[in-house]
């Protein structure tokens, strides 16, 4: 079931065009958004999250008519975790997630507790954000994105800066959420893609140049030996084109 439809999406800063006519359909499940630095991954996620107004194209959520990034009710159905989330240090963990729930218009009183539970932060609910480690902060930010169980979850390089144990925990959370929502994980690390699995979308120079499974990317290379080889072959093809 397709949850998010993106058609002809263009985005840029000043005169430079970063996204060049993106067409995308996101289903329930996990999608890795892979690309080199500067490929447009963060710009695409921020545009889908409503941070940036698209220059052209449309984004629609489920059966809802109209442009999702222009419609506040639709935006509430999209959870977004920024690359390096900033939390208000003077607020408690619970208050931050409750604040996020209020911003999204989430009415369910249990939603905050559930989100904290999903990221294993229930026991730190009363702690001030300034006292948390980097990994914990990222989990709190993830809880903010998860609160209200949005049908679309966009995660921008969520495992950067986490220790191995925290990475494993976060991947578990992401996989669980992906059972009932369309989850997009942006990354430039192939190891992360291999560990997460699911669908892979490769963004190159502002355009989608590949959309298939992890195995499909692996087999894209001449010898089908590794993801690195498949990805490198894809990039060579695109550069020569």
């Amino acid at each position: 079931m397709t949850i998010l439809h993106v058609r002809g999406l263009e985005q840029g800063y000043g005169r430079s065009l970063v996204l060049k006519g993106i067409d995308l359909d996101l289903d329930v499940g996990l999608t890795c958004l892979l690309g080199l630095n500067g490929a447009g991954k963060t710009t695409l996620l921020r545009t889908l999250a409503g941070d940036l107004a698209p220059r052209a194209g449309s984004v629609s959520l489920g059966d809802r008519a109209g442009d999702a990034v222009q419609d506040r009710a639709s935006l509430a159905g999209i959870g977004y975790l920024a690359q390096d989330p900033v939390l208000p240090g003077h607020m408690s963990v619970r208050d931050v997630v409750e604040y996020a729930a209020w911003l999204k218009g989430v009415q369910d009183r249990d939603a905050v507790g559930l989100a904290l539970e999903q990221v294993s932060m229930s026991s730190q609910a009363r702690d001030r954000c300034r006292t948390l480690s980097g990994g914990m902060r990222r989990r709190v930010a993830l809880a903010c994105a998860l609160v209200g169980l949005p049908p679309v979850l966009l995660l921008d390089e969520p495992t950067v800066g986490l220790d191995p144990e925290q990475r494993l925990q976060l991947r578990d959370v992401v996989r669980t959420v992906a059972e009932s929502a369309a989850v997009v994980v942006s990354t430039h690390e192939l190891a992360e893609v291999a560990a997460l699995g699911g669908r892979v979308i490769v963004l190159f120079d502002g355009a989608v140049v590949f959309s298939d499974t992890v195995e499909g990317l692996r087999s894209h290379g001449p010898d089908s030996e590794s993801l690195e080889a498949g990805f490198a072959h894809l990039l060579r093809q695109e550069r020569s084109a």
Binding site: G50, R72, Y80, A82, P85, L87, P88, S92, D95, V140
Partner: protein
């Protein structure tokens, strides 16, 4: 209620409000706010909170900046709430904290001055100035925080409130009633607040508040609207300054006076009825020996009350005025009247005049003036009262310069 509770918990006001209250308390202590009369408490509370206004602006600005970073999971552009609702929600949070601090500081002042002054009606209206300023300054802080970086906010938050309050509002020489906060001058005895002044003041508070909120809200979506709102506020201020001062107070009806018969009739505003017995005693003591030598006034009336042809007017300037202070207040006006024999005129300050003013006060309340008060001039005249009266009258000859 959950939204309000969350707004309170999320706000920097939780830290700033206690600090603001402490600043107000410190101001009160340093400026003898605690020992003053409770009629002055309202003004002291408002003035004390002027000191806390930069803190209020800063806290509101930090609230606006709290989630303005696009990396924040609380970035408001992504939620279902509109920018207007979010700005109002922030404003309610920070304003509630600061009003609580203001109420606490005012209550502390009231409690500590309770019963230490005269039973004069408390000017509650003055407290609304504090409420208005807080509402306006939190909106101003939200607007500044939406546009300025952290360092810029720190600097402007420290400067802007003083420009608004000290430079424009609180100075008695303020060029405009619109920009002038109401103070005790408006509510002086015998004066009521002019409705026009109240309306202008309210309009200015509303313009600052609504304008600030519009500017804060327009940051993301409609910068032109913010510019327009800021322009309207500046324009209002300029119009106010250019149109000149307005009348802030209007006299109340003279039926509000109360009089007592003595050697002469003594009249005060009803609000000062408390002073009347002491004032009549002072007046009687001052004039009872003079009436054989000098033309006495028929009536001694508090400033603002209508005068008869033969009356002297004086001003009760401070609360808690005991007989000694009343005698000191009354003496210069009575001396001027006697010197000019009831005609319009001025008496130049001189040692001769000064010692006679002191002699009058001393005669009414011997304990009121220390002996050295006379040593500075010619000393207390000695001898029978008739000789003293002659000395007094002789000193006033030619002292009056007709207007």
């Amino acid at each position: 209620m959950r939204s309000l509770a969350l707004a309170l918990r999320a706000s920097w006001g939780a830290l700033a409000a206690p600090a603001a209250m402490l600043a107000a308390v410190a101001y009160g202590l340093l400026n003898n706010g605690w020992v003053g009369a409770w009629m002055e408490t309202a003004q002291t509370a408002v003035n004390a909170f002027t000191l806390a206004l930069p803190l209020i602006v800063l806290a509101a600005g930090l609230d606006a900046q709290r989630d303005s970073d696009v990396s924040s999971p609380l970035y408001p552009g992504r939620g279902a709430r509109s920018g207007v609702v979010i700005t109002l929600w922030r404003w309610v949070g920070i304003t509630s904290w600061m009003l609580a601090a203001f109420i606490a500081a005012s209550a502390t002042l009231l409690i500590t001055t309770w019963g230490r002054s005269d039973p004069i009606e408390f000017p509650w209206l003055v407290l609304t100035v504090g409420v208005g300023w807080i509402a306006a300054h939190t909106a101003l802080g939200l607007a500044l925080g939406a546009y300025l970086p952290r360092l810029g906010l720190l600097i402007v938050a420290a400067v802007a409130p003083f420009l608004l309050n000290v430079g424009l509002a609180y100075g008695t020489g303020s060029p405009s009633a619109l920009l002038t906060a109401l103070d005790n001058g408006v509510l002086a005895v015998g004066t009521r607040l002019a409705p026009e002044a109240a309306a202008r003041q309210l309009a200015w508070f509303c313009a600052l508040t609504v304008g600030g909120l519009i500017v804060a809200t327009a940051r993301r979506s409609k910068p032109w609207l913010g510019m327009a709102a800021a322009g309207v506020m500046v324009g209002l201020g300029l119009v106010s300054v250019l149109t000149g001062p307005g009348e802030r107070g209007a006299p109340v009806a003279e039926e509000k006076q109360i009089c007592a018969e003595g050697v002469v009739v003594v009249c005060v505003w009803k609000e000062h009825a408390y002073y009347l017995p002491a004032l009549r005693d002072v007046t009687d003591a001052m004039v009872e020996d003079l009436d054989t030598a000098l033309p006495l006034p028929d009536r001694v009336a508090e400033a603002g009350l209508a005068l008869s042809d033969s009356s002297v007017s004086f001003y009760i300037g401070t609360q808690n005025a005991g007989p000694g202070m009343l005698a000191e207040y009354l003496a210069p006006d009575l001396v001027r009247w006697l010197a000019c024999e009831g005609t319009p005129g001025e008496v130049a300050v001189s040692d001769d005049v000064l010692v006679r003013e002191r002699w009058l006060a001393w005669r009414a309340v011997p304990d009121a003036l220390p002996p050295q008060a006379f040593d500075e001039t010619h000393g207390i005249p000695e001898g029978p009262i008739s000789e003293q009266v002659d000395w007094f009258a002789a000193g006033l000859d030619g002292a009056c310069a007709p207007l």
